[in-house]
Symmetry: C2
Subunit: 302 residues, 2 copies
């Protein structure tokens, strides 16, 4: 029932073919927390600068996100600027200002150290490992990463993967890390590094849940209007981990439902800039969209 997330909080300036937004609230931990908050209470470990608006922190607190692990530092919050072309699967980074995030050394408060579910959003794999060392006997530790760490800190990343139960990453990153173009073979190579479960995000094509002897393929919802894919992966992870932690059921059927709830949350998130759409979701909307996924993918057994 207790879900801990460690990651970034940021200001994003994003341009897509459908519009642009300057200095919107972003960051992996932010997207994750808001998304997961529809399923469970969330414990946040992150860092913000003195320029981060109190109103946003109040919003998170109202959504039952526990901010006891939030470090407020003198200086500016992490800032990212990026652009998407018509291929909304890949962002082009125009500018990155790490600011206070550069010195982020995640401290898990004592009150959070017995968290049962832990998500390590995309940060330096050495910091991810340090978080694992700070939590006592979690039931499930999952982590994300990105090409930057695959290319720059491969050994550290492989070491972190050896410490976690689950990895939630993009299909391209699976191929890159494994050095193997076939996704199934590549996934099995990563499973050999330690995690028993791989969630492979395929952008508009959906997601795969891969374990040693089983594969689940979740469909991608066909949306007519995708405004901003920023945070889709973290929003997916939030729905996925939020659902799992609320159910306390790690069966294959439960993991599959969790992938669909993750997909549901991500599908809402891309409908607006920042997490505007996630702010105002209802349980009914979430359930209705889950059923849309069922209708999309169902066919008769024979």
């Amino acid at each position: 029932m207790s879900l801990l997330v460690v990651g970034s909080m940021a200001f994003d300036s994003v341009k897509t073919p459908f519009g642009e937004r300057e200095g919107a609230i972003g960051g992996s931990a932010t997207y994750f927390s808001v998304s997961a908050s529809y399923f469970t209470e969330v414990r946040l470990v992150a860092i913000v600068g003195s320029d981060f608006p109190q109103s946003e922190l109040d919003f998170l607190a109202e959504r039952s996100v526990d901010l006891a692990g939030l470090e407020r530092s003198e200086g500016e919050t992490f800032k990212w600027k990026g652009e998407y072309g018509f291929d909304l699967n890949t962002a082009r980074t125009l500018d990155t200002q790490l600011n206070v995030f550069q010195d982020f050394r995640p401290q898990v408060p004592d009150a959070f150290s017995e968290s049962e579910y832990v998500f390590l959003a995309n940060i330096d794999p050495e910091l991810q490992a340090s978080v694992v060392e700070q939590v006592k006997s979690p039931r499930l530790v999952a982590c994300d990463t990105m090409n930057f760490w695959i290319e720059g800190k491969r050994d550290e990343l492989v070491k972190t993967f050896g410490m976690v139960d689950m990895v939630v990453i993009n299909e391209g990153e699976v191929r890159e890390l494994a050095g193997e173009s076939n996704v199934l073979k590549a996934s099995r190579k990563i499973i050999e590094m330690g995690p028993s479960t791989l969630v492979v995000k395929q952008g508009e094509y959906g997601a795969l849940l891969i374990q040693k002897d089983s594969v689940f393929s979740a469909p991608g919802l066909l949306l007519e209007d995708i405004y901003d894919p920023t945070g889709a992966g973290d929003t997916f992870a939030g729905g996925f981990m939020g659902y799992l932690s609320s159910e306390e059921d790690m069966s294959d059927a439960s993991l599959r439902r969790a992938v669909i709830f993750g997909s549901v949350m991500a599908s809402f998130n891309v409908e607006s800039f920042s997490y505007d759409r996630l702010r105002v979701l209802t349980q009914t909307e979430i359930e209705t969209r889950y059923r849309q996924f069922s209708d999309l993918a169902s066919f008769d057994r024979i």
Copy 2:
């Protein structure tokens, strides 16, 4: 119950990262016929040269493919040479020799003119239209095409699309023809051209079945060993149309099952060069793989 296919028969020389094969039997009508023959009797309209082996024609006849519409011409059979890189979704054409196929003017024999199900494989859209004019009141006419015709004979292609019920094409071709990157919007533009149903082949990601008010997403089976994707699309179409014509049921549920049977047949085909794998399939293997697709994609409704 009567399924007519019009398309090419060819010799293919194919190189993939996993091997190569010179002068293997190929062609859209060939792949389609063999695949569909596992579901229903097939009527073939195509052209071969005097170099086409009688043993292959005997094989087709044994599989209940009616060759009354096969033209045997003096000269050489259509020859294609291509290569695939590690991205097995796209072939690079190295050489094309149309030979007798250049003068192909499909003649539908009288005995075939009342065929109820018709598949127009990828040939000149004007020839596709001429076939539609030769069949009397079919229940379902479906067609394929390729970028070559989208770019070179757009108007003729759009005219042909206005004459058919269903279009079975690749995702990239949907985007190119509609001039629209969003697949759902692009598909709706093509539906406005005439066909009520679009089957969008997404390579390793599966396939979509799109109608005015509904979408079905079929998963792609994750295969560890893909030897040769040549003919996968035609094999898909053969399973899809073969199943539909055997069932005589055009409900949404039946169309969805047909997409899965098409996917099943295509998944076998890519496991070998030419249609080696399709030659020796059993009904049990087909049903077992259908159930693999069910297991792959199923999750609880809520």
